[in-house]
């Protein structure tokens, strides 16, 4: 017996950059692989994470509705835990697929649908912080040098 599930995936932005269709197919494909049927799948949002996950500061959310058997859920969970591109997922049982979600899925399938390029803010933690800090220091030093130069001129 299969039930309807709502699954929210948090996907690595790098995978989205490589291609939205492929990124979406990678999660919907997994559901089908485990004997499920995808009823709706769409990009929910791309946003800054409340806290870094696997050193990513941003991520793309994909909302999927599908039918799965109990056995399928168990095997799907196991595989998702091992999938690198899926940073987090939330799998919930629901009564029915909201009609609005099916519409939104259709809208996304239309040819003129474009996925905005994820902002490049999600660089690896340490590297980003260091380069930023260095840049700040450099600016400060310059400012000091300039003000000293001015003072020197006034004295002369």
């Amino acid at each position: 017996m299969s039930r309807i599930y709502e699954i929210m995936f948090l996907i690595d932005n790098n995978a989205v950059r490589a291609g939205w269709k492929e990124a979406k197919a990678s999660v919907t494909g997994l559901i089908e692989k485990h004997g499920g049927k995808v009823r709706a799948a769409r990009r929910w949002d791309e946003r800054k994470l409340a806290y870094p996950i696997k050193r990513r500061r941003r991520g793309t959310y994909v909302l999927v509705y599908g039918e799965l058997s109990g056995q399928g859920v168990a095997t799907l969970r196991r595989e998702l835990d091992l999938t690198e591109n899926v940073l987090r997922y939330l799998l919930l049982q629901v009564e029915a697929v909201p009609p609005k979600e099916v519409e939104l899925t259709q809208a996304e399938l239309a040819s003129d649908f474009r996925v905005p390029e994820p902002p490049p803010e999600d660089v690896v933690d340490g590297a980003a912080d260091e380069s930023q800090a260095e840049a700040d220091e450099g600016e400060e030093l310059e400012e000091v040098a300039v003000s000293e130069g001015e003072l020197a001129e006034e004295e002369v």
Binding site: M8, L10, W44, R47, L49, A50, Y51, I53, G59, Y61, L63, L87, R88, L90, L92
Partner: protein, 75 residues
């Protein structure tokens, strides 16, 4: 007059959150933000003025949102 445990204290500016049951969902991050404090801690029932049932739904929603990185555990 009826007394319950909620009127033992004078309520300090109760910030009542307006919400329908169906709104108490992890996807409704805007609303959930109103139910947590600056450090990300959940507000008590005294603060949200929710029924016990709703507060439980809120708890679920907040915890799910935190898991997905939509809300912070602590900030």
């Amino acid at each position: 007059m009826m007394h319950d445990r909620f009127d033992r204290f004078e309520m300090p500016t109760p910030e009542r959150v307006q919400a329908k049951d169906s709104d108490l969902d992890y996807k409704n991050v805007e609303l959930l933000r109103k139910c947590v404090g600056g450090q990300g801690q959940m507000y008590s029932r005294r603060r949200t003025a929710f029924t016990a049932q709703r507060q439980r739904m809120l708890k679920k929603a907040i915890k799910r949102a935190r898991h997905l990185g939509l809300l912070s555990f602590v900030d």
